[in-house]
Amino acid sequence: MSASATLTAASQPGLSPHARLRHDGARGGWVLLGPERVLMLDEIAAEILTLCDGAASIGAIADALAQRHAAPPAAVLNDVLEMLQDLRDKGLLTA
C-alpha cells in the first residue's frame, strides 16, 4: 500500500494483489475477499469494482456509470469516491 490515502477523481484504483473479486454461486451475488474479510457486494458495487483496472480514473469510472444508468454525474462521483475510499481504508484497493 502506498500513494496518498485520500482518493480523488484522478486516482486510478485497482484491486489489491491479495483481494479477490468473485461470483458467489451459493449466495447468488458478488463478493470481495481479503484476509479475514468477506464483503458481499450489491450489483452497483460489483459493477464499480469490475471497472477498477488500475488504469481508469475514478472520474472516468463515474462518468461511465452515470451514462449507463442515466444518473447525475456529480452524485455518482460522490458515491463512487465514498465506496472506493472505504475499500482503500480496508486495504482491499490500491490507487
Partner: protein
C-alpha cells in the same frame, strides 16, 4: 429447524505438531497425534465439499501447517476450487524452498505470528530459541515474493508494553494488516491465564494506542484489535454465532463449530471420515445444539442483542461456569459477570506464575508422543 445458510470459511487444522510451545496456544490440551492425521486425499475431498457448500475462504492452520509436506498440494486444490487461501503460520519452518511452491499453488495471503519485538522475550514466550529471527526473515521472504502479509501479534501482560514497537515492526516488515490479538482464554491459554492476563488499565491503554495508530496509518496499515472480553460489558459475537459461519476441522477429521468446542464435554463431534461435510454442517448434533437462538435461556432469550452476539461464547460459558448453555459471563447482564471480573482483576494484579508450555509432554494424562 430449517437448513442453515452456507458457511463462510473453513479452518483446516492440518496438524497439531508444532516446533513452538506458546503458552497461549488455542489448541486443546489433548493434542492430536501424527498417526491420526487425515491424509492428502481426504483433505482434498473435504476442501472440495466445503467449496461446494458455499465456503469462500480457507485458513490453513494447526499446529504448524508447514510441518505437512503436502501443504502446497492442498493450497493448489483449494485455489482451484475458488477458495481464498490463507496460511496461518509461526513461520520458523519457512524458507525459499517452501515458499516458491506455495506461491505457485495460488496462495493468497500469509499470516505470521510474532511473540514480541524484543527477541529474547519473544523466544522465551514461544519456548523456541532463535525463533524470532527466523520469523523476521520469513516475513521478508514473503514480502519479497510479492505475497500479502498479516502480522499476528499475540499480546498479553508479558509483552503488551511494547505494542507501539510492534506496530512499527509490522510497518517495517511491509505488512498490509496487523492483527493485535490479545490472548483469548481457551485451551492452553486458559491453563496459563494468570501468566497472561493484563490489567484493565493495560487493556485500556492498548485500545487507545491502536485507535491512534489506526488514524495515523490509514491507508498504510489495517489494524484489527481483539481485546480480552473479561473486562467488556457485552461479549463478542463468538465465531459470528455458533455454526453460522465457520467450520473447524481438526487434524484427525473431527468437525467443530469452533476450534475450542472440544472444551464442551457433552458435545459429540462427527468425523469427515464417516459423513459428508454438508450433512455434518446441516445436521450434526454439535452444530445444531447452539445454532440460532432457540436454545437460549434468560437473560439472552428476551435480549435485543440475541441476534447480534448470539449470547457470546459457548466455550467461555463452559470454561467459567461449567455450563455451555449459559449466557457468556463476559456479558454484564450475566448474573456471573462479577465473578469473571474478579478473577481477571485478581490474576492480573498478582505476580505472573511461570508458563506451562504447549507440548505433548505437558498435555494431561496422555501417552508419550507417537
Amino acid at each position: 429447524m430449517s437448513a442453515p445458510g452456507p458457511p463462510l470459511a473453513l479452518l483446516a487444522e492440518l496438524t497439531h505438531r508444532c516446533p513452538l510451545g506458546c503458552p497461549y496456544c488455542s489448541n486443546p490440551l489433548s493434542l492430536e497425534r501424527v498417526r491420526d492425521e487425515l491424509d492428502t486425499t481426504i483433505w482434498q475431498r473435504v476442501i472440495g465439499e466445503a467449496a461446494a457448500l458455499g465456503a469462500l475462504q480457507i485458513h490453513f492452520s494447526g499446529g504448524e501447517p508447514l510441518v505437512r509436506a503436502d501443504l502446497a498440494a492442498l493450497v493448489a486444490h483449494a485455489h482451484a476450487a475458488g477458495l481464498y487461501t490463507n496460511l496461518i503460520t509461526s513461520a520458523v519452518l519457512f524458507d525459499h524452498r517452501r515458499l516458491a511452491p506455495l506461491k505457485h499453488a495460488g496462495l493468497d495471503h500469509v499470516q505470521i505470528s510474532l511473540q514480541d519485538t524484543a527477541p529474547d522475550n519473544a523466544d522465551r514466550i514461544a519456548g523456541y530459541a532463535g525463533g524470532h529471527r527466523k520469523k523476521l526473515e520469513a516475513a521478508r521472504l514473503v514480502r519479497g515474493a510479492g505475497l500479502a502479509l498479516t502480522i499476528n501479534a499475540v499480546m498479553h501482560r508479558q509483552n503488551l508494553a511494547r505494542l507501539p514497537e510492534m506496530i512499527d515492526l509490522a510497518l517495517e516488515l511491509g505488512a498490509g494488516r496487523l492483527e493485535v490479538a490479545q490472548v483469548q482464554y481457551y485451551g492452553w491459554a486458559l491453563r496459563n491465564r494468570p501468566s497472561l492476563i493484563p490489567t484493565r488499565a493495560e487493556v485500556a491503554a492498548a485500545v487507545a494506542i491502536v485507535a491512534a495508530a489506526r488514524e495515523r496509518l490509514k491507508g498504510r496499515l489495517v489494524i484489527d484489535h481483539v481485546v480480552p472480553d473479561y473486562y467488556a460489558k457485552r461479549p463478542k459475537a463468538c465465531m459470528g454465532g455458533w455454526a453460522r459461519q465457520f467450520i473447524n476441522i481438526t487434524p484427525s477429521g473431527l468437525v467443530l463449530p469452533c476450534h475450542a468446542a472440544q472444551g464442551i464435554p457433552t458435545l459429540r463431534f462427527e468425523s469427515v471420515r464417516e459423513r459428508p461435510l454438508a450433512e455434518i454442517w446441516e445436521r450434526s448434533e454439535a452444530f445444531e445444539r447452539f445454532r440460532g437462538t432457540a436454545w437460549m435461556a434468560e437473560p439472552c432469550r428476551s435480549c435485543e442483542r440475541r441476534e447480534i452476539d448470539f449470547g457470546g461464547c459457548r466455550c467461555q460459558a463452559m470454561a467459567i461456569l461449567g455450563e455451555a448453555g449459559e449466557t457468556d459471563p463476559a456479558c454484564a447482564l450475566s448474573p456471573h459477570h462479577a465473578r469473571l471480573l474478579a478473577l481477571a482483576e485478581a490474576e492480573s494484579a498478582a505476580e505472573p506464575p511461570s508458563f506451562t508450555y504447549r507440548r505433548y509432554a505437558n498435555a494431561p494424562s496422555e501417552p508419550a508422543p507417537a
